[in-house]
């Protein structure tokens, strides 16, 4: 298969089509706008549906409607837009409908700025809507990985009947890299199922609903969802370890663009003989606690764990949970669109040795 040079956002759009998704609903926002701008041209070629919604509130509810009829569907937004989708996401997760959303994070809070950031880590992994529900959150660190994770996202969303967020930052969305698509042409539509609303001709009628008037029933529903999330945590966590972590003197934890930068810092430091490794969660939710802990346990006895983020420190909460008191924690982070450089990361690592 040949490689093509593509912008991250466009590659994400194309990957959705290759995964069989031909229904897109979204509202413009920088830095993800190339996703809809790409799809509005591409979807008609594959008989797809493109709707520019009046707001992110509307787009996520259009997704609720489309997903409820059993089609693969996609929306795309950036930080402030995801805030507006909170309520809808809660409904979709409660009704166990599959769908995929792209979140190309920008800097906050408030209107913030349009430059890349990771300051919506909490929003992605714990935030958005009300109630006891979870998304699956995938964080690519390259354009190729963005493509691969989009394909995976549709697969997971359908298998577990759960919304999946592909969570990247403006850097991944905007950068151009050569990519390879694992399949040709538009992928398969969603398989027939027992729950989609399609008109009840010839079968029992179906209901997509999240209202449970009896506390016992709602409790049961929550337990069923929890069991599903536990299963996902057991089977679907993904991570990468970069560098030799056995006996390393320090472990860096970072995701997405930040992890790429840490990798080049590590490359430089290794040539200087520094024993340092990177742990990169690919699933931010569920977080790869087991693998993270195993990696930490293999470090040199007093090695610290340095979390590096494009935020004031959010994922570090998960790193602490992972270490469960077994390690000393250090943090490096910048916000607002300022990204720590490889040199700054290297300097921080050295200062901790």
């Amino acid at each position: 298969m040949t490689k093509v040079l593509m912008k991250g956002n466009e590659a994400l759009g194309e990957a959705a089509i290759r995964a069989g998704c031909v229904h897109f609903f979204g509202y413009p926002i920088t830095p993800q706008t190339e996703v809809p701008e790409y799809l509005v041209k591409r979807l008609p070629e594959v008989g797809g549906v493109f709707v520019q919604a009046e707001s992110e509130i509307a787009s996520i509810n259009m997704i609720y409607g489309a997903a409820g009829t059993g089609v693969k569907c996609l929306t795309s937004s950036s930080s402030p837009g995801i805030s507006l989708m909170a309520e809808g996401l809660s409904y979709i997760a409660a009704c166990e409908l599959p769908c995929v959303l792209i979140n190309i994070m920008r800097a906050g809070p408030g209107l913030g700025g349009i430059l890349p950031a990771q300051s919506d880590y909490h929003q992605a992994t714990r935030g958005h809507g009300h109630g006891d529900y979870q998304l699956i959150v995938l964080a690519p660190a390259s354009v190729q990985e963005a493509v691969d994770l989009m394909m995976l996202a549709f697969d997971l969303s359908e298998r577990y009947r759960n919304p999946v967020m592909v969570c990247a930052d403006g850097m991944i969305g905007q950068m151009m890299e050569p990519v390879e698509f694992p399949t040709e042409g538009a992928g398969e539509p969603m398989a027939e199922n027992e729950w989609a609303l399609t008109g009840c001709e010839g079968r029992e009628r179906r209901i997509v609903n999240s209202l449970y008037l009896s506390p016992e029933d709602l409790n049961e529903h929550n337990k069923k969802l929890k069991a599903k999330y536990d299963l996902i945590a057991e089977k679907e966590t993904r991570h990468e370890v970069y560098g030799e972590h056995e006996g390393a003197d320090i472990l860096v934890v970072a995701f997405g663009t930040m992890a790429r930068i840490v990798k080049s810092a590590i490359d430089d430091l290794q040539s200087e003989g520094v024993k340092v490794a990177l742990f990169r969660p690919i699933t931010l939710k569920p977080w790869p606690y087991k693998a993270g802990r195993a990696t930490m346990d293999a470090l040199a006895p007093d090695a610290p764990v340095l979390t590096v983020e494009m935020s004031m420190g959010q994922m570090i909460d998960d790193v602490r949970l992972c270490a469960d008191g077994s390690r000393r924690h250090e943090f490096l982070g910048e916000a607002g669109g300022v990204v720590p450089s490889p040199e700054e990361v290297a300097a921080k690592i050295k200062s901790l040795l």
Binding site: A58, N61, A67, T69, N209
Partner: protein
């Protein structure tokens, strides 16, 4: 001779049928049913009833069936609804509108193709009563949900059923843009001038001076503006649409309302345009009046401000070339 059958078990004793009967043949009995409602009973002699159906049309609870002089059934309960008794208060016209929608879909042969979207409001449980595929949407978002469903499954018939808080307040943007995009969906909009489910707060459609729990001294339009005429607002959009306002407060108007709702679904079934029917409705409980006083209040206090009729229609399609004049 005609006759009626009153289903004692579902009667909520609202008395709407008593007022509806043109021959004054129905009255309250002395009996309470299993749920404690004082049920109505037929009081005339057998030959008096002609089976005109007006009592059945007024009943919000599928409580009456009628037969005419030749023994032919003139009113039967629709297969568009389930048999579940509604949770609505006595005299609430949500039940009437549910029935009309169910009848229309069943008469048009569309039940097996329909996807309904229930709102948040008193009719949140509409998915229990409509006898076809149903969504339950977040407060105000039904037109967006319907958009997603219809775009994904263009061969289905998709409609939303929404109250005035749901549609005209929190969901103002969703309805405006669904209408403006010309989504091929149908919207049934229940204007009862109040928030029913949350216990009677002011709605965007609350009448000037009307007392509600959040306008306890009467709606002050200086402070809260005038009631929103949603039909007229949507009719101002340039996108073709069918927009009509009817009323469910009495049987005569309900018969006309049914024609509007039928036309609305026909426009959708023929892929023509967005269709919207507003229904002036009663909320006896939160208005603090009896069911029949509530009906009078719709006629006396709401109908001048919210005029009934077809507000907007799509342009007639030109006859195909070569067709006879």
């Amino acid at each position: 001779m005609g006759y009626i059958r009153i289903e004692r078990a579902v009667c909520k004793g609202c008395g709407r049928c008593i007022v509806a009967c043109p021959k004054d043949l129905i009255e309250f009995s002395d009996e309470l049913n299993e749920r404690g409602y004082q049920v109505v009973t037929y009081k005339g002699s057998p030959e008096e009833c002609g089976g005109c159906t007006l009592c059945a049309v007024a009943c919000p609870d599928l409580g009456i069936e009628t037969w005419n002089n030749r023994g032919k059934q003139t009113f039967e309960t629709t297969t568009g609804l389930t048999e579940k008794m509604t949770h609505y208060c006595p005299g609430c016209t949500h039940g009437v509108v549910h029935r009309v929608v169910g009848e229309v879909l069943s008469e048009l042969g569309l039940v097996g193709r329909t996807i309904g979207v229930a709102p948040v409001g008193c009719s949140v449980l509409a998915y229990e009563y409509f006898n076809f595929d149903m969504f339950e949407a977040a407060h105000g978002r039904a037109p967006a949900v319907a958009t997603g469903a219809k775009r994904a499954r263009p061969n289905t018939i998709v409609f939303t059923y929404q109250g005035d808080g749901d549609l005209a307040s929190i969901g103002g943007n969703e309805i405006l843009h669904a209408a403006n995009r010309g989504e091929k969906i149908t919207v049934i909009f229940i204007n009862n001038a109040i928030y029913g489910m949350t216990g009677g707060q002011m709605a965007p459609t609350t009448m000037p001076g009307q007392k509600t729990s959040t306008s306890p001294f009467g709606r002050d339009t200086e402070d809260t503006g005038m009631p929103i005429k949603v039909c007229e607002l949507l009719a101002a959009l340039q996108t073709p649409a069918y927009i009509a306002r009817g009323s469910a407060h009495d049987s005569k108007h309900t018969v006309r309302l049914k024609k509007m709702i039928k036309t609305a679904f026909q426009h959708q079934a023929e892929g023509r345009c967005f269709s919207f029917v507003e229904v002036l409705s009663t909320c006896p409980t939160n208005w603090g009046v009896s069911p029949n006083e509530a009906s009078d209040w719709v006629a006396d206090a709401m109908m001048d401000y919210f005029p009934l009729g077809i507000i907007k229609e799509p342009a007639k399609e030109p006859k195909p070339a070569g067709a006879k004049a």
